[in-house]
Symmetry: C2
Subunit: 198 residues, 2 copies
DNA sequence: TTGACAACCTGAGGATCCCTCAGTTTGAAT
DNA sequence: ATTCAAACTGAGGGATCCTCAGGTTGTCAA
């Protein structure tokens, strides 16, 4: 609800802030290299910080993973607003889905954690996920009102589709990434008219 | 290729066979309770066997996971043959997909490992996975020849869809399992006529 | 029945990672 | 300069992984 909640919980002292940022940067690198189960001790070490400091800032692994993606989720919410204003409803929805899927599969394991957060209150980024859920729901409703998307599709189902596509993308070893094609198939399944070519 | 490869690699001595079976049974129970990352030492202990014995029979975690699902995969291959004989092509394909998705999500983490095996030769159950891949491809081709399914769908894409649905099912915490609905949406996306009601 | 041996089993142990917490250091407000 | 809450440190107990040197046992042939 209140985005400030995140900012407020960031450390106040200068050294705390510095370490917080260093840990986050190291975590991004590590997660992208090894997935969401990268070694936390290695991350702390790369950040030039003792393990205890990492745990001080991020009491759970999920909280660290989620912190690394907070910016991306915020972008997604903002982008939803822009797309809704600039494009026709179906374009806005499909483009947003594409971007969301890419973000959800930034590294291995992320989409699972985000899906968890989305439906489990009490996780650190639940509020952010819920906001994003609302963004998606808004875009969906607009497309449905315009008659472009089948009326019986629920927001939860939309996110199931997106999560599924992200999972496929995440699985993609070098070479075949089936997610764009998968997304197209899904879109053709949920729209009431052919999807425009890429 | 040769199914005997699996049987031949099973232990020959009576005590070995006994332990092999006990480990497999314990593993099934543990994986269903805790997912594919259950503790191997706990599994060995439950099987009444030292940890070294577990590693003797199953040198990697993946080999153990795959062994627990070998029967299921064999069933799936056999079932494909039956369905192809008994039903019209679209029914056969959709029913098979439903069963496969259920099997792929027997426990948390399975679908990821199977997907890996399917495209990575050198994994213990690659041959079995490849056989299943062929079964699915056959059913797909039949449905396409009959004009029920869009001609441009490839077998790999079919398995992407199934894997995605299985992942959604695997994520499902108590309550909402979106996979049946997801599968229906997918089917409506890939068929050339409406899917029959459940 | 009895070697003989390959197959099998055991479990200690080094390595890694998790997470906590008692003690120490330090930024910043007064 | 003083004070103290915030922040940091890193040793350490617990869990799990996986290996390997050495002991046990099933099986087969004589």
């Amino acid at each position: 609800m209140d985005d400030r909640a995140y900012i407020a919980q960031r450390p106040k002292r200068a050294d705390g802030q510095r370490n917080y940022d260093a840990i986050l940067a190291a975590a991004r690198k590590a997660f992208e290299a090894s997935g969401s189960d990268a070694s936390l001790e290695e991350i702390a070490s790369q950040a030039g910080v003792a393990i205890g400091t990492l745990y001080r800032h991020f009491p759970t692994r999920a909280s660290l993973v989620e912190a690394t993606t907070r910016d991306g989720l915020e972008n997604l919410v903002a982008q939803a607003g822009r797309l809704a204003a600039d494009r026709d409803p179906l374009d806005a929805l499909t483009e947003w889905m594409r971007e969301a899927v890419v973000h959800f599969s930034t590294f291995r394991g992320l989409v699972g954690i985000l899906t968890q957060s989305m439906y489990d209150e009490g996780t650190p980024s639940h509020a952010m996920c819920a906001a994003m859920h609302r963004s998606g729901a808004d875009l969906l409703r607009a497309a449905q009102t315009a008659g472009c998307v089948r009326a019986d599709l629920t927001p939860d189902e939309l996110f199931d589709l997106m999560g599924a596509a992200a999972w496929v993308r995440e699985q993609a070893t070098s070479g075949r990434d089936g997610s764009p094609r998968l997304l197209r198939l899904m879109l053709e399944g949920i729209t009431t008219r052919p999807v425009l070519p890429v």
